[in-house]
């Protein structure tokens, strides 16, 4: 009898999963190029949602422009963080773990961003972003979807497609891949690696920003919204072994669907546990993720 709910669960799971996939991709491109895990990823989404909200309500921009504004603002913010903080840490002469310091910096950023959002009385009230297109729900068989849901999936597919094309076929994209695979070799052939990092952070932040605006119509927009999102994005990224973009996308969608399935077949309370369980299970049994290939241990 519960099985009637299955198609709906899968459909809406794909929708939320797309958002997780986008944020996971954002985390992965940062990790692949800088080995840094961005603990502030959820806050990028949150800030993007607020920028979009402000653009829509105070600047009266049309939806598409609001999304672009969020992307642009987050791009600048992300690149600025890398330039002002992370690259600076990278130049420090530390005996051990520059990487640990960088990750601590992202933790600090996550708190800074949350705190920044919280100061303004504007964020005290829980808000919601309007959907991209207002309209009647769509019925496909027993499945009910909103236009906004389709747009979420559509935008995700579009962005991922653009990313694949960008990284695979453009000169800049290839330069970015080069500098993430082997920064020293890349700089030897004349690629400005530090500037490439700025672009990576910009792209990652922009992706999160766009996700923020999109998810803001389905989730309440509060300074704390980043916390749950980051966990799910981590889980999705880990399924992809944290290195495989396609894996992360599959991971995100799998996660979205599994959350709904857990909600139906187990209990709604257990939904929250799904990401932790997945993270622990995958890391314990298959640290390279389901798609990551053989587990690589970086030497010295």
């Amino acid at each position: 009898m519960i099985w009637i709910l299955l198609p709906q669960a899968i459909a809406s799971g794909i929708v939320t999963g797309s958002i997780y996939a986008l944020v996971a991709v954002s985390l992965i491109i940062i990790y692949k190029s800088t080995d840094v895990i961005n603990f502030a990823g959820g806050e990028f989404v949150m800030l993007g949602a607020y920028v979009g909200l402000l653009a829509l309500t105070f600047l009266g921009l049309p939806y598409a422009l609001a999304v672009l504004t969020a992307a642009a603002v987050m791009w600048v913010g992300g690149a600025a963080f890398d330039r002002l903080v992370l690259q600076r840490i990278g130049k420090l002469d530390l005996h051990h773990s520059i990487l640990v310091s960088m990750v601590i910096a992202t933790v600090g950023l996550s708190f800074l961003a949350k705190g920044l959002a919280r100061i303004f009385p504007y964020t005290e009230q829980v808000r919601r972003l309007p959907p991209a297109v207002k309209g009647d729900p769509i019925f496909i068989g027993s499945i009910v979807l909103q236009w906004h849901d389709l747009i979420i999936v559509g935008v995700t597919v579009l962005l991922i497609g653009m990313l694949f094309w960008f990284f695979g076929y453009t000169a800049l994209g290839k330069a970015l891949r080069a500098s993430s695979q082997n920064p020293r070799a890349a700089s030897l052939v004349g690629i400005p690696v530090m500037r490439m990092r700025l672009v990576i952070w910009g792209i990652a932040a922009a992706l999160s920003g766009i996700s923020g605006v999109l998810i803001g119509a389905k989730l309440p927009v509060t300074p704390d919204m980043g916390a749950s999102i980051i966990l799910l994005a981590f889980a999705a990224a880990i399924i992809g072994g944290f290195t495989n973009l396609a894996g992360a996308i599959v991971g995100g969608i799998l996660l979205g669907v599994m959350q709904n399935l857990v909600g139906i077949f187990v209990s709604s309370g257990a939904i929250a546990v799904t990401p932790f369980a997945i993270i622990m299970l995958v890391l314990v049994f298959k640290p390279q993720g389901l798609f990551g290939g053989t587990f690589q241990q970086k030497k010295v």
Binding site: I37, H96, G108, L112, G115, A235, I238, F276, L283
Partner: protein
């Protein structure tokens, strides 16, 4: 770092005890509360420092063991009447055991995955504390009974202070011995380079697991100490926010050194009190300030304030 002449320095932690006894009669209750909280934070921070600062393992599971220690000690008292002196060691053993279970798979992971896995474990533990309402009372909070330590009733801050001071002093002494021991050197070895350590004969996996277990034990001790002077505990305490707080103490004071941890705990621990007099609505600004402090220090004062003091001392020689 590990060249502290253990001799005269060993006396310093012991000074906590007469200091505590002096404070009980003379100082207002609020300061007693602060002293208790700070000493608990010292134990908590030392534990995280062992894992993060000394062994270089980037793990975020600390709050889970803090909670396990706290709830276990309290529940053993409530349901089985087990006194603190017995309950705490049991809680420590439990936390250590779970720490080992987590460490066994976790030590295979690269440092970054380790951070994620332990982060997930900590969030999972929080969910357990919150949802296992039949045992922990969940979000309603668990009323902590008055503990009896060796026959004495310990409930108020004044009563708890000497006991907490004794435990804190013991933990400090233990840490000093650990720092100069062979295990301490092994920790530093795996922090600096696992491969070189392994080539030098250090059992990397076993050392990592030990670091985990010891760190979990410290957190559990802190949890037990908490039950001495507080009247109730809720899962709200064991969130990522707390780890960030302790992390800030380590970053500000200096990772890997005992004086550094102490400096960090005192500064960051007293910070809310300081801010409370300046800012009316502390809650709102708290995250912003901690975030800013973390970034500022990790960027500009990477070895912490004690690291600065230390380099000045070296230059003066």
């Amino acid at each position: 770092m590990y060249d502290i002449p253990a001799g005269r320095y060993l006396l310093l932690p012991l000074l906590l005890i007469p200091a505590a006894l002096l404070m009980v009669g003379t100082v207002p209750a609020y300061f007693l509360y602060l002293a208790n909280s700070l000493m608990i934070l010292v134990v908590l921070a030392l534990g995280l420092d062992i894992l993060l600062g000394r062994a270089g393992q980037f793990a975020f599971a600390h709050t889970a063991f803090y909670g396990i220690g706290c709830y276990s000690t309290a529940l053993l008292n409530i349901h089985f009447g087990i006194p603190f002196v017995l309950g705490l060691p049991i809680a420590i053993a439990l936390a250590g055991f779970i720490g080992m279970l987590v460490a066994l798979p976790a030590t295979r992971l690269r440092s970054i995955y380790l951070a994620l896995a332990t982060f997930a474990f900590a969030e999972g533990a929080f969910w357990v504390f919150n949802s296992w309402t039949s045992v922990t009372q969940g979000a309603n909070g668990l009323r902590l009974p008055v503990s009896s330590v060796l026959g004495y009733e310990v409930g108020t801050n004044a009563e708890a202070l000497p006991v907490i001071a004794v435990i804190c002093a013991l933990v400090l002494l233990a840490t000093m011995f650990l720092a100069t021991s062979q295990l301490g050197r092994h920790f530093a070895a795996i922090r600096d380079s696992e491969h070189v350590a392994s080539a030098s004969g250090v059992n990397v996996k076993r050392t990592k697991i030990l670091a985990f277990v010891i760190s979990a034990a410290y957190a559990a001790i802190a949890g037990g100490m908490y039950t001495l002077h507080q009247s109730y505990v809720s899962p709200e305490l064991f969130t990522f926010h707390l780890i960030v707080l302790v992390l800030s103490m380590l970053v500000v004071g200096g990772l890997g050194t005992i004086p550094g941890v102490l400096v960090g705990v005192v500064l960051i621990g007293l910070l809310p009190e300081l801010l409370r007099t300046v800012l009316r609505d502390l809650q709102i600004w708290q995250e912003l300030i901690y975030g800013a402090i973390l970034i500022f220090f990790v960027m500009l004062v990477p070895r912490g304030l004690w690291g600065v003091v230390d380099s000045l001392r070296r230059r003066a020689r």
